[in-house]
């Protein structure tokens, strides 16, 4: 079971996940229309890319955009959640051991304490995201079951991973559960709203190009996100 999940199944997962995301990126760009979007992408690519990159940076750097500054509490939790979510799996020692075995190289590994802290941050952040969906009327009204499902898919690898890591219960069972939930998460990326892992960049780039070309960029004013 373990060999299958970390062997052929993992390959299929990576292929579908990353391949699927690539397809979505290509489809996104192909579906852009200079006339319907009313953005002259091609003739002013330089202005566009400048605006696009500014737009991405403003929202990927904590407290850069006004949105992040006016809501400091949310910003800290939101970034904590995403940083934990992305950094932990990539730099976790256990994952890099597998990488080393398979390809003979590995990424720098996080000290165990840091990895634990990041994982717990992610879980706490996820819990907060659930609570605010319940507590705030302006979030509750747009929340659907699907939104909760996505949160479950996202934090499940962390829950199972932590249980295995602290050796609670049957280690083999929880390790298998961890691998399966991790693969479900990866497989969900291209097919669900989790595609924002990539489409966030596309969408931000597009709006940034709009501002960089049509909405002021070519007039020499930078949008003060």
């Amino acid at each position: 079971m373990y060999d299958f999940l970390t062997g052929p199944m993992l390959w299929v997962t990576f292929l579908v996940s990353f391949g699927g995301l690539l397809v979505r990126a290509v489809m996104y760009v192909r579906g852009l229309s200079w006339q319907l979007d009313r953005v002259a992408y091609r003739p002013h690519l330089g202005y566009g890319m400048r605006g696009g990159i500014r737009s991405i940076l403003a929202f990927i750097i904590p407290f850069k955009a006004r949105l992040w500054r006016v809501r400091p509490g949310f910003t800290i939790i939101f970034f904590g959640f995403h940083i934990g979510l992305l950094v932990t799996p990539i730099f976790l020692e256990a994952h890099n051991v597998m990488l080393k075995q398979a390809f003979g190289f590995s990424l720098p590994a996080l000290p165990a304490g840091v990895a634990d802290a990041l994982a717990w941050t992610c879980l706490a952040g996820g819990l907060f995201l659930v609570l605010r969906r319940i507590a705030f009327p302006e979030v509750r009204i747009i929340t659907t079951v699907y939104d909760y499902l996505l949160l479950v898919i996202t934090v499940a690898p962390f829950v199972t991973g932590l249980i295995a890591r602290y050796d609670m219960g049957n280690y083999d069972f929880w390790l298998t559960a961890h691998i399966i939930t991790g693969e479900i998460w990866l497989l969900s990326l291209p097919f669900t709203k989790l595609s924002h892992v990539l489409l966030f960049f596309m969408s931000r780039l597009q709006l940034g190009m709009d501002y960089g070309i049509k909405r002021g960029g070519m007039k020499g004013t930078d949008m003060a996100w």
Binding site: M27, Y28, V29, R30, G31, L32, S33, W34, Q35, L36, D37, R38, V39, A40, R42, P43, H44, S55, F59, R66, L67, V70, R71, F74, R132, R133, F136, P137, E138, V139, I141, I142, T143, T144, D147, K193, S195, H196, L199, F200, M202, S203, R204, Q206, L207, G208, D210, Y211, I213, K214, R215, G216, G217, K219, G220, T221, D222, M223, A224, W225
Partner: protein, 463 residues
């Protein structure tokens, strides 16, 4: 499929239809007919499939339902923060559902969409700045308006407004003759005070072609005279076209894209006919948005640019003051606390935030200018944008919407508001009428004329 006499899927294309629809006072019969209007689901779905591309599809799909857009919307703020005013909810429950149901929606749904698109969004685009994913719901509402218009679900005034643009190529029934006569009249009227004042019509190869808002010839022609006086004093070689002089677009508010294209092509053909070095539009926000920012795309110009550089009035004014073409008498500058309304349509949507402040630096005594908070791109809509000002059916909602601007103005402590945009000007006038907070409001032109340092040779000779 029942189509009303006034409320139907066919745009107004003749003067007779226009007059008949206007005679239906307040749209009484029009809105009654709307209750019977069928939805052509196949046509609706066909339009969505054809025009809804990856940008909008992605926006609808990846909305994380985080609710961060809520607080960005002034209509959410002034309406007791009810969740039904959250921008994401507003677009998901209208356009989102329409797409999910593949256009198979009923009359009641379409009327709900109409109410949402025209009374719960002014297309100010502010929410787009506060969405982490960069989802601009103002753009989507503008798109939804187009779908609704094509199905006949559009407020009465905007059906008429876009009909005006179709019949007269102006937002009001101003003919070419009316326009040219008004220009001649205004030049004559002001000749004594400004010797040599001219409003040159159809002059070829001028440096500037000036375009305006049909309300100027129709209701306050002095605005045209003021533009003429300032060009005259600045010594500009300018002209107005007899055709293609109107740059506003109620059809943009109505979602009548076919008409938008026709009207903007009319302005561009005036440019091609008269070959000015550049064009300048009046102190209007949506007119600039329509003719300069979105217009090139409607007209199919791949570079997204107008045929010649086409600037907003505030850009010309700043330049004229900067280069000394217009001189201000320092003694006549504004010496009371004064604030500035940033128009969404050319500030958030074209970044013209610094030129207006440059003008302020010339015409206001240092220390007297007070910024609104927030301001520039982050400023709130005046409360009457996107056609909201003109729709009788939603007057109550519009009056509520004015409260945000009222609070902002009250917070500055100023009694004078500079509003270089027709729509903002109207909204601020209406908010004073409605709430009586004791403010005055003005375009830039009359303020600047009142403080000009006029060269000797331009002054009237004493008899």
């Amino acid at each position: 499929m029942p189509e009303g006499i006034f409320c139907n899927k066919t745009p107004i294309n003749t003067d007779e239809q226009l007059k008949a629809t206007l005679n239906d006072k307040g749209g009484k019969q029009y809105y009654e007919e709307m209750n019977q209007l069928d939805v052509d689901s196949d046509k609706l779905w066909g339009a969505i499939r054809k025009t809804m591309k990856s940008r909008t599809r992605t926006w609808l799909e990846i909305c994380a339902h985080c609710g961060l857009c809520a607080e960005s919307c002034f209509l959410y703020q002034v309406n007791g923060r009810v969740p039904e005013q959250v921008p994401s909810y507003k677009i998901q429950s209208t356009l989102g559902v329409m797409v999910k149901k593949k256009g198979k929606v009923d009359n009641a749904f379409m009327q709900m969409c109409m109410e949402t698109a025209w009374s719960k969004c002014t297309c100010c685009n502010r929410c787009g700045m506060y969405c982490p994913h960069g989802i601009d719901m103002g753009i989507m509402f503008s798109y939804l308006r187009g779908l609704l218009y094509s199905q006949g679900f559009v407020p009465w005034e905007l059906k008429i407004g876009s009909g005006m643009h179709r019949v007269y190529r102006a937002q009001m029934d101003v003919t070419t003759e009316d326009w040219v006569e008004t220009c001649e009249w205004m030049a004559e009227e002001n000749e004594d005070e400004w010797p040599g004042l001219e409003i040159p019509v159809d002059k070829e190869d001028a440096d500037i072609m000036y375009t305006c808002n049909a309300r100027e010839p129709k209701h306050y022609p002095e605005d045209i005279a003021e533009a003429a006086i300032l060009f005259h004093v600045a010594g500009e070689n300018w002209t107005v076209p007899s055709e293609g002089w109107e740059q506003t677009s109620l059809s943009m508010f109505a979602g009548d894209w076919e008409c938008c294209k026709d009207n903007v092509l009319n302005v561009y053909s005036a440019i091609e006919r008269l070959r000015p070095k550049r064009a300048i539009g009046t102190e209007c926000g949506h007119a600039h948005r329509a003719t300069v920012i979105e217009g090139p795309y409607w007209a199919g110009r791949e570079d997204g640019q107008t045929p010649v550089p086409y600037i907003h009035y505030v850009e010309w004014l700043a330049e004229a003051l900067r280069t000394g073409k217009l001189k201000i008498d320092p003694a006549k500058r504004i010496k009371e606390p004064v604030t500035l309304q940033d128009s969404c349509n050319y500030v958030r949507n074209q970044g013209l935030k610094d030129v207006t402040r440059e003008i302020i630096s010339y015409i206001v005594e240092p220390g007297c200018f007070v910024e609104m908070a927030p301001n520039k791109e982050h400023n709130y809509c005046c409360g009457g944008g996107g056609g909201f000002n003109g729709i009788g059916l939603y007057r109550e909602q519009r009056n509520m919407a004015l409260r945000k601007k009222m609070e902002q103005i009250l917070d500055t402590g100023c009694k004078l508001v500079i509003a270089p945009c027709h729509n903002c000007w109207d909204a601020i006038r209406d908010l004073e009428e409605e709430y009586e907070i004791g403010i005055r409001w003005s375009f830039l032109k009359p303020l600047v004329i009142g403080m000009l340092d006029v060269p000797e040779h331009l002054l009237p000779k004493d008899e």
